[in-house]
């Protein structure tokens, strides 16, 4: 069954899009991450113009994160104070990111910039998770010395506006939280991701938040960041395809229910290794595209394909 996408200006197979959504939904249910960082490249592989894929994916994340955040709020896993401060940075970053997309598309280097940033992020996150989870599986524990804080921790503690976050049980600088939000906001606009795969490790490893509160708070702030980025993309680039977004969300919701049930059969370290391997596979495919001779030397500029 085919459906014509009004903004992408092309027909797609409904079951292919539902299937891609479901695949990413299973993964996000399994690992507790948004999965947007996998969906955008999958949509591009499926022939959706890159700019439409990224913007519509962000639109889909609004739906997915709202549904997840509501569940976590009921369980008391959302640090609203942390989320709101982080959001201030996220909204500023998202606005700057959408303008950056417009400039890059104007000079025609959006696609390649997006792919390079992707490769770097996927390598860093995938590599870090793989090493961390293999070490955890071998039973090695991080030998952190609480008496000798790292240079990074000393730097964060030296920043002004230190404040207490009760739900997370941490004390840190507002400036650091806003800065982290800004960085992730720029990436969210550029890559069409909610930023969960960057925010989550940052909240756990850099802010020291408990994993479950990090997941809940991350989903809470993603609702607002992705709302902002969706509207910015609609204004600056006219690339949000709401029909595509709803199809993806329908697939991912169903997938997420299965994923959440599968996840109880695995150990946390096994899940993280599996996720790391998937992330690294996507990275390898993107690198392959950058270094191998393209099928056609001249292509329509991204976002082309009309109304």
């Amino acid at each position: 069954m085919e459906i014509y996408l009004p903004i992408a200006g092309m027909p797609v197979n409904v079951f292919l899009i539902l299937g891609l959504g479901a695949l990413v939904g299973v993964l996000s249910g399994l690992f507790g991450v948004g999965g947007g960082f996998l969906l955008t490249p999958l949509l591009i592989f499926a022939g959706i113009p890159p700019a439409v894929a990224a913007a519509s994916d962000t639109n889909q994340i609004v739906a997915a994160s709202a549904s997840g955040a509501l569940a976590h709020k009921r369980l008391g896993n959302v640090d609203v104070k942390m989320g709101v401060i982080y959001l201030v940075g996220g909204v500023l970053g998202g606005t700057a990111g959408a303008q950056l997309v417009r400039v890059l598309r104007g000079i025609g280097s959006y696609d390649v910039t997006m792919k390079i940033v992707y490769v770097i992020m996927l390598t860093l996150v995938g590599g870090f998770m793989l090493i961390e989870s293999i070490n955890a599986l071998r039973g090695k524990k991080k030998e952190a010395d609480p008496n000798k804080p790292s240079a990074f921790k000393r730097f964060v503690q030296s920043l002004p506006l230190q404040t207490e976050f009760k739900v997370s049980g941490v004390r840190t600088s507002i400036i650091f939280v806003v800065g982290l939000g800004f960085l992730v906001g720029v990436l969210a606009a550029l890559l069409g991701v909610g930023g969960g795969f960057i925010t989550m490790p940052a909240m756990i490893y850099l802010l020291g938040m408990p994993t479950i509160v990090a997941i809940g708070t991350d989903l809470f702030q993603i609702v607002f960041t992705s709302m902002n980025v969706t509207i910015q993309q609609a204004i600056a680039n006219h690339t949000v395809d709401v029909v595509l977004a709803i199809l993806l969300f329908c697939g991912s919701t169903i997938g997420a229910q299965f994923g959440a049930r599968f996840s109880k059969r695995f150990r946390g370290e096994q899940l993280r290794i599996l996720l790391a391997v998937i992330v690294l596979c996507v990275m390898v495919k993107l690198v392959f595209d950058l270094v191998s001779t393209p099928a056609s030397l001249v292509t329509l500029t991204a976002g082309g394909g009309g109304h």
């Binding site: 014509y4 390649v112 969706t230 006219h238 709401v242 919701t253």
Partner: protein
């Protein structure tokens, strides 16, 4: 007598009414003559038929104006394939299909020239105006470079089914001709002009009255497409509201389903 006179008057007036209609009736019909692009559109077909002199060869040209199109050329920079030049191609049609009843090389060249058709899209490459942006300046490319980009665009449009040349696709039997035009999913909205040229065996060339095939968006495709272009702020807000509503409805739906099927408060509540 009165009845006969009345009937004669009736027949006469019907005749008078019909004659101008019969004269104005187009020699070419396009059926259907409107293509609606809706949410289930995957492409369409339309049949072009009509009358031509006995034994004539037929050339059908269907074309629609295009918009300036952006093209990116990839090149190797530091081992990576990236965009090295971005150009805008203007003056090329948005839709261009040529259907003939025989191989073009068996037809008089001056007729092909007059019709603006050839077996190799050469008529199009000459129409292209290609500009490149170098730094902040817009530069018009020389004809050789312009032709190269025009050729790439022709290939892209051929793949999308927007451009094609199909020799022998028009069937002629006696004084009737018939051809089926394929309308691909990527067809631009607007009017497609259909021109038919007949070449009689004695070499006489007749241009039949051109017809118009309308391509319009309907329903959701029209509503969303127009809104995204003319009122992007409202469109963005609508997209967000639709997503939020869907998300919250689905979250509550699954909570309800879990209660119903598993008779519990949901999986996570117990862990």
């Amino acid at each position: 007598m009165r009845i006969i006179r009345f009937l004669a008057l009736l027949v006469g007036s019907v005749y008078l009414l019909c004659t101008p209609l019969a004269l104005a009736a187009p020699a070419v019909t396009v059926e259907p003559n409107t293509i609606n692009v809706g949410i289930n559109f995957t492409g369409a077909q339309t049949t072009i038929k009509g009358a031509v002199p006995e034994g004539a060869q037929v050339i059908i040209k269907a074309s629609a104006p295009g918009h300036p199109t952006g093209l990116s050329k990839k090149g190797r920079v530091g081992g990576l394939w990236m965009t090295v030049e971005s150009v805008t191609v203007d003056g090329m049609p948005g839709f261009y299909q040529v259907l003939t009843s025989a191989q073009m090389n068996s037809m008089p060249p001056e007729v092909l020239k007059q019709a603006g058709v050839d077996p190799d899209f050469a008529a199009l490459t000459g129409m292209a105006r290609v500009t490149a942006r170098h730094e902040e300046q817009t530069v018009v490319l020389d004809p050789a470079a312009a032709e190269e980009y025009a050729r790439w665009l022709i290939n892209i449009n051929k793949e999308k089914g927007l451009y094609s040349i199909r020799e022998g696709a028009v069937k002629v039997s006696g004084s009737r001709f018939e051809a089926v035009l394929d309308i691909p999913a990527a067809v631009p909205r607007g009017d497609i002009r259909i021109e038919v040229i007949a070449v009689s065996p004695d070499g006489m060339v007749t241009s039949l009255e051109p017809q118009v095939l309308k391509v319009t968006s309907v329903g959701l495709v029209k509503g969303l497409g127009e809104m995204a272009r003319t009122n992007p702020v409202a469109y963005g807000i609508l997209a967000v509201i639709i997503a939020l509503t869907t998300g919250l409805v689905v979250a509550n739906l699954f909570k309800y389903l879990q209660k119903l099927i598993f008779k519990d408060e949901g999986v996570s509540a117990h862990h």
